[in-house]
Each structure stands twice: as structure tokens, then as C-alpha cells.
Amino acid sequence: MENKPTREKLLREFAPQIERISASSVLWILFLLGVIGIGVYAFVTQVTEGHEVTGMRDNVVWGIYIVNFIFFMGMSYAGAIISGALHLFRTEWRKPIIRMAEYLAIISLLIGPGYILLCIGRLDRLPFLAVYGRIQSPITWDVIAISTDIFGCLIFLYLSMLRDIANLRDFSELKLPKWRKKLYSALALGYTGTPEQEKRLKRATDIMAAMVIAIAIIVYSVLAWIFSVTLQPGWHSTIFGPYFVIAAVYSGTGVLIITMFVFRKIYRLEEYITRKHFVAMGVLMVVLAALFGYFTFSDYLTKWYGSEKNDENLIKILFSQYYWPFIFSNYIGVLVPLLVIGIPKLRTINNILISAIIVVIALWLNRYLIVVPTLESPYLPIQDSRPAWAYYNPTWVEYALTAAGVALFCLLFTLGSKFVPVMNVSEMSEIPKSKGPFTEEESLV
């Protein structure tokens, strides 16, 4: 029981996080609720007035809803893959950030599918997906895959939180209302850390970590296939599966870095999350940047080289109408992280944060550029005098719901961090005292 002091110390340190809600965080939560409220209003408008209130029309049938859907799902898979992989490889430096990755996985997984529901014209008929489901349809694959994924992530998150919940239950100094203590003790499943229990928990967690990685890859490929099984120029591509997976992990890494930064600031975790962690994540991001750049390049290179009529047309549009978004997402979004992290001198926390933000925006735009321009340049040229039919312009409803999704994401993260510390206390307390939370000797990835 030599870790005991560390655990006690950690718990004592993190207790305020979950015990108190400061005035500023109340304000913050109210603000988020406000944004979500606007989103709810937008949603009601869309349901009562029909999808006409969106910018989508017969040519661009999917707009930023689907972009958000891909984006959030991508973050979720990234969270799952990162936490699963870090867990399986027993990387030491994972410990302070693994809980955030798990939260990222589950929270964005709860929000993402909401966006696909916003695209659906008849929400009242959703049960038909089960009643009349056709296995041939990639949407059915997606429905099955996402629900499987949600269960997997929930189990995984729960497994990895179990010990912390048990800790909180047993931590007598915690000043919390009775119901919360009761909740902890119920959720802790009577875990007391006997060798037998520990063995079982470890086994289950390992298996779920592997599962979560595998499912994340499958699910995101399925999502990519929704696009690539069609014949649309720009979508009908064989590399979309791996491309999407890489892009997902890439964007997720960016989001994770931002999350790390934010929590580090708010909860004063400088002691635990150090520059080294940022650099480690940064290096991961660079690897992914290279891969992402490589996939993007080969996708567009093959289209451009052969210049089939419709591909040529698409590329022309990308380089004219969408010039800046295209440059930003596919050049700046790749090169900035490469430079910032590639050059050791530039590797400050702030710089890494900035490149993470750039990556996140670039990847959102990347998805937009995959979805919208393709729909704007179908095989038969659009001949329509109504501008909305020819060019997609998102309306306030779509923006409001996008903002609401981001707000919900922040809200759930905030509440999650109030429920169980954003750091895995039990894992961190296992670190031998001599070494400290993060050691120089450890390799970066």
C-alpha cells in the first residue's frame, strides 16, 4: 500500500473540482444553456416549418449538419482510438490525459448522431429503420455500427472510471450531498481492489480497449462508405475509408490538445499536465498530419491527373469558388503542425495549442469541402434559376444548431469533470513516487 499517500493527496487536490461549482462556472453553464436554448428554438422551427428553413435544397441535400456529424463522430473515434491505444501500450504519460480522451469519445458520440437526425425529413418514422431495415444500405450499417459503438464506449468509460468511483466513495473527506455519495457507492459495484477484482477489471478493460479501437475504425469506415459507395464525382473514391479514419484521429488529437489546455488552466493541473504531454500529443499530431496530407494529396492527385470531366470540374470549383477554404484545410492545416512541432524551438504549449486550433478548423472545412462542392457539381449540370438550388448557403437555423452542438459538447465535458475528476486518479497514483507523473526517460510515443 505504498501508493496510498499519493492517492489521498490526489483526491484531496481534485476534490474541490467536484465539490464546488464556482460562480464563473455557473455563468459558463448558463451561457452554454443559453446557446443550447437557441438551438432548441431553431430545431423547433425546423420541425414546424419544414426543412425549408435550412439552406439545403434538391442538389445540396446534405449541408453542415452532415459535416458536423462527420466531425463529431471523428472526434469520438479519435478519443476511442487514442485512449484505447494508450491503454493497450501502457504508455506512462497517458495517465493524466486518458480520462479526457475517454470523455471525448463518449461525449462526441452522444452528440454526433444527433446531427444526422437533423437531416432526416421524417423523424416520426425513425422506428422504420428497425422495422423495415435493409442490410444492403450503408445507413443501416451505420445505425448498427454507431449503436454498437455507443455501448462499447460506455462500457469502456465505465470500466476505466470504476476505480476512481470507488475511490470517491471511500474518500471520506468529500463534502458532497448524500445522493451523490450514494450514487458513487452504487456505481462502484462494491469494488474494493481485491487481487481477484483487479485482475477481472484489468482483463475487461484490456478487451474493451481493443474492441473500442477496432469498432472505431470500422464505424468510421462505414461512415466514409456512405459517401464513397455513391457514384458522385469526388465521393466515389476507394481510399475514403482509411482517409476518414486518419482525418478523424487527426482532428480528435487537435481537440484533445485544446481540452488538455483548457482543463489545465481551469483546474490548475500544471503539475500533472506538462509541456511534455503537449509535445507528446503534438508528435502524435505531426504523424497524423503527415498521413492526412498524404491521403489528401493522393486523393486529389489521382483525380486531377486523369482529369475525368466531372473530376476536373470539381477541382476547378475547389480552386476557384472554394479557394481559401481549400488552401486553409489542405495546406495550412497540414503544414502548420508539421512546422510548429517539427522544429523543436517552436514547441511551446501555446504554439501547439494554436496549431491544434488550426487543425480543428481545417478539418471541419475539409469535411465541408468533401460534402458540399461535390453536391454542387453533379453529373448533369445544375440548371436552375433559384440560387438556393445551385449554391448552398447555410441559414441561421443550421448555424444555431451547430453552435448548440458545440455548447452541448462543452456542457457535457464540464458536467463530466464535475462528476469524476478529469484525471485518472487511481492510475496516476500507481506511478512510482521516485519518477513523478512524467519522466524524461520515457519515449514520446
Binding site: V61, G121, P138, Q383
Partner: protein, 319 residues
């Protein structure tokens, strides 16, 4: 043994098909003097749902006569022993838009929804521009059907691809699946939908429903009673031919051709064959045209005319 079984099976199918059509042909009621009436042909179409009338004289637009509708279940099955095909003669099209108008009237569509669209195409700079009416191609390998998660869009035994608006969940996947931009979505409840008081039937494709997808349906409700689809009936130039490909015959109402001869003699082709969707709509190339392309701009609504203002042909003309 086998052969005679096969024969029996076949003739049963023939009978079904004939019975259906004969039944549909005789819709007249009323009192007839018994001695003169030919009773042998009195099998009334049980398959066809009769219109309810209270004896009042009703005026119905002759251009878009409504027909009795079959139930949703039946409309999933298809007309027995048929396989429909359409041939569009580009040489005769002058963008009169009568097909579009009749179709919209017949299906109770708002102006913003067109099942039939007329494009002004020009394959390359130097090649000739032409008017290109485009219905749904009712592909034999329809991607729209493959991707539908709930089977709301389906292909019937007679080759027609239909949408069941009572089942469609509005995911719009089929709209991206179709490479020919054929499908339209009801972005809201259009008033025109309410004009149709009949019960919904996928065969009639009407009344439309908010939040679902619809498209050209080859008017199986008309074909069932031996009439041509609205577009073919109403084209003043007789551009659109329709028929049963197994019978090798297509007609535009005034002329009837053997399908195989027409395609052979006029070098008929299918649009974007390369995509492998195997359309059942064939085009006859715009050769030896009866009208110059510009004739198609006459008498157009301003907003319809504006559709074509960004086409290469119109742009090059302005210069």
C-alpha cells in the same frame, strides 16, 4: 411434363395480364338494354379501385385525367408480365415544356418540384447544343434503391422504380445515390399536395408528403389502364415514346414503332452508360432536327429562361 407445367404457368400469367387490362378498359356503368349488351367482356377490373361518385357531373381536366388507384401493397408488386421502356427523340424536342406542366398537374406538384426536367446540354465546345428532357431512368441497377435503408424506394417486377411516401424517412441518401439528379424532396408541405383528395398510392405518386422524396414514376396508374404517361400524352411534338420492351413496341400516342428497329435505325443510346446503372430510358440522338435549338427559348417564363443563362451555349451566343 416440365414443359407443359411451364406452359401452364406462362399462360396463367398471360391471363392475369390480359384480364387486368380488359378489366381496366371497361369502366362504363349505367343501365343497358340487356339484349344488346355483350356480356362476355363484362369482367370488371376488381384490381382497380373504383372512384367514389355521388352522381354529380364533375369536370375533370382532360389533359390530366385521374385514374383509379391500387393499394400501397399492390403498387409494390408491378404490372404482371411487363417491362417498361421509354424512348426520347431529341431530334424533335423544342423545349415546349408541355411534359413538365402536364406532369406537375397530374401529380399535384408545386412549381418548384419537377419530375421531368428539361436541360440544355452541349457535350463539348464544338458539338451541337440540344434540349434534353430527363425523367427518372428507372435504372435496372438503381443505386437509389440499393442505398435506401428502409426499402421505401423499390424496383418492381415491371422495372418501374417507385417511392413509397408512407415509408420514406427522408434521409435523402437516395438523392445522393442517384447520379442523374432525378429526385426531389418536399422541403415543406406544399399547398398543391392538398388538391389531391384521393388516398395516397405510390403508383400515383400523389399526394406528396412533407419531408419525403419523390420523383418521376412512369405513371403506372395510367399505364395500368392502357394510357400513356402524362409527359408522353401531352408532348405536342411526340418526342416521348413509351411501351413494353418485351413486346418490342413503343408508342407516342400517334406513331407506334418496334423498339428494336427504332433504336437500331436511329442509333439510340442511354445517357451516361458508363455509370453502369443500366437505364431503361433510351435517347435518339438530335440529328436532322425539325427545329433550331433557339426555338426552345420562345414563350418561356422569365425564370425558366434564366435557368439556361449560365450554359455554355447561351454564354457563347451573348458574345
Amino acid at each position: 411434363m416440365d414443359e407443359s407445367n411451364e406452359k401452364k404457368k406462362r399462360s396463367r400469367r398471360d391471363f392475369l395480364k390480359k384480364g387486368l387490362l380488359a378489366g381496366a378498359g371497361v369502366v362504363a356503368g349505367g343501365s343497358l338494354i340487356a339484349a344488346y349488351v355483350d356480356k362476355s367482356e363484362k369482367e370488371s377490373g376488381e384490381k382497380v379501385r373504383a372512384l367514389t361518385t355521388d352522381g354529380q357531373i364533375i369536370e375533370v381536366d382532360k389533359a390530366v385525367i385521374k385514374t383509379p388507384r391500387v393499394s400501397i401493397k399492390e403498387s409494390h408488386e408491378g404490372i404482371p408480365g411487363r417491362k417498361f421502356v421509354m424512348v426520347i427523340d431529341l431530334a424533335k424536342c423544342k423545349n415546349a415544356r408541355k411534359c413538365v406542366e402536364a406532369c406537375q398537374k397530374g401529380h399535384h406538384l408545386p412549381k418548384s418540384q419537377e419530375f421531368m426536367k428539361v436541360y440544355l446540354l452541349q457535350d463539348s465546345d464544338k458539338s451541337a447544343p440540344y434540349w434534353f428532357p430527363k425523367p427518372c431512368f428507372h435504372c435496372d441497377n438503381p443505386l437509389c434503391v440499393s442505398v435506401c435503408p428502409v426499402g421505401a424506394t423499390y424496383k418492381r417486377s415491371d422495372g418501374i422504380v417507385l417511392i413509397d411516401n408512407d415509408r420514406c424517412i427522408g434521409c435523402k441518401f437516395c438523392m445522393t445515390g442517384c447520379p442523374y439528379s432525378t429526385r426531389v424532396f418536399a422541403w415543406k408541405h406544399y399547398n398543391e399536395f392538398d388538391e389531391d383528395k384521393e388516398p395516397y398510392s405510390p403508383e400515383a405518386g400523389s399526394p406528396g408528403k412533407e419531408g419525403t422524396v419523390s420523383k418521376c414514376d412512369f405513371c403506372p396508374d395510367l399505364v395500368r389502364i392502357g394510357k400513356l404517361p402524362y409527359c408522353a400524352q401531352n408532348c405536342p411534338m411526340g418526342v416521348i415514346y413509351f411501351g413494353d420492351i418485351d413486346e418490342d413496341t413503343v408508342t407516342n400516342g400517334t406513331e407506334t414503332y418496334r423498339f428494336s428497329e427504332l433504336i437500331r435505325d436511329r442509333a439510340g443510346y442511354r445517357y451516361l452508360e458508363v455509370l453502369g446503372t443500366r437505364p431503361t430510358v433510351y435517347y435518339l440522338p438530335p440529328v436532322e432536327r425539325q427545329f433550331p435549338v433557339d426555338r426552345g427559348f420562345n414563350d418561356l417564363d422569365e425564370n425558366v429562361k434564366n435557368r439556361y443563362k449560365n450554359t455554355p451555349y447561351v454564354k457563347s451566343h451573348k458574345k
